[in-house]
């Protein structure tokens, strides 16, 4: 009898709800999207959403947390690059860029929550994405200076200049269907910056 009263939700229903949430929150906004609409888009009934996420808030937070966990995994991969300081800075930054490009809808959602009018979404620390990248760049630049591969100077200035190249290239992908700069442009921009600060 238990199976009839509390049926186990289909195995892929959770995943379909996550996909629907990302799509609806990004296109229509968190506040404007109802539980009913999320369920319709995912092709599930309301109890399935409540079973997995308890509420719209819970679904949003889960989406944010799992995305951030994936981001940390990507960071770990990118940190394992070897080579000169210059190569590591370039590979880390371009690797990050291409992983962001694969997640543009999520990035759009983060930008709309961060810069947009408050929509009542529960708090999630979006700045940690940015701050973790700054930390990692600082580590790479500091190591480069210690090894004599980066000219001694203000570490922060170098970090923020490199971050500026990454940031503007990502925002161009977010804002334009036909971006005027891409990953190749960013690599050349990084070269301009690194030509002046690297010793090799």
């Amino acid at each position: 009898m238990k199976n009839i009263l509390t049926p186990i939700p289909p195995a892929d229903a959770r995943e379909r709800l996550m996909i629907a949430a990302l799509d609806q929150f990004t296109r229509r906004g968190y506040a404007a999207t109802s539980v009913r609409e999320l369920c319709e888009a995912a092709g599930v009934t309301k109890p399935v959403l409540y079973y997995y996420f308890k509420s719209k808030e819970g679904l949003y937070l889960q989406l944010m947390e799992e995305s951030y966990t994936r981001f940390e995994a990507i960071l770990s991969d990118l940190k394992s690059y070897s080579g000169s300081a210059r190569e590591r800075i370039t590979n880390f930054t371009t690797g990050l860029f291409f992983s962001y490009v694969k997640q543009l809808p999520l990035l759009k959602l983060c930008y709309s929550i961060y810069y947009g009018t408050p929509q009542g979404a529960p708090y999630f620390n979006l700045e940690q994405y940015y701050d973790r990248v700054l930390d990692e760049l600082e580590r790479l630049v500091s190591e480069g200076i210690k090894l004599g591969e980066v000219k001694d100077g203000n570490v922060n200035d170098i970090v923020w200049t490199v971050m500026g190249c990454l940031n503007i290239t990502i925002e161009e992908q977010l804002c334009h269907t036909n971006p005027r700069i891409d990953g190749d442009s960013m690599k050349r921009m990084l070269d301009l910056v690194l030509n002046g600060i690297c010793t090799n």
Copy 2:
């Protein structure tokens, strides 16, 4: 009798409505702000708003248009700088930065409209702010190359790298009450970039 039936609105009422609109649209959002709330915040009656702007949409568009007109005036001033290509690029970019800093609430509103969930605000071309700066930087860099003051290279790469320094420094002011980088940092970041590309 005309004065009693259609009183002339107080001379500063228009200005107070513009200030209230910027404040309310930025803090609470365009959609969430009503004509009644705008009038209350400005200390005027509804007919005064209708007299000057016809509607909330009209007030928003007027705010956007006058802001953009001021921006074009600032651009004109900044274009008149003389000096080497390097000085002109640096002065143009830092001058622009400091003019943006004086207008952070407006900038916040533009970011929230641009990146946020659609709020039903009438269309205003926000990208022209960005594109006009890119155009001007392109002119400065191209002239620098022609004069032999900037190494021959990909003009766009240089333009976007400089723009990246400006963009990330402005966004840091938008996002943090205690920004980690400021105008001085940006000037040093520009130096890092220009050291590599300028011949002097």
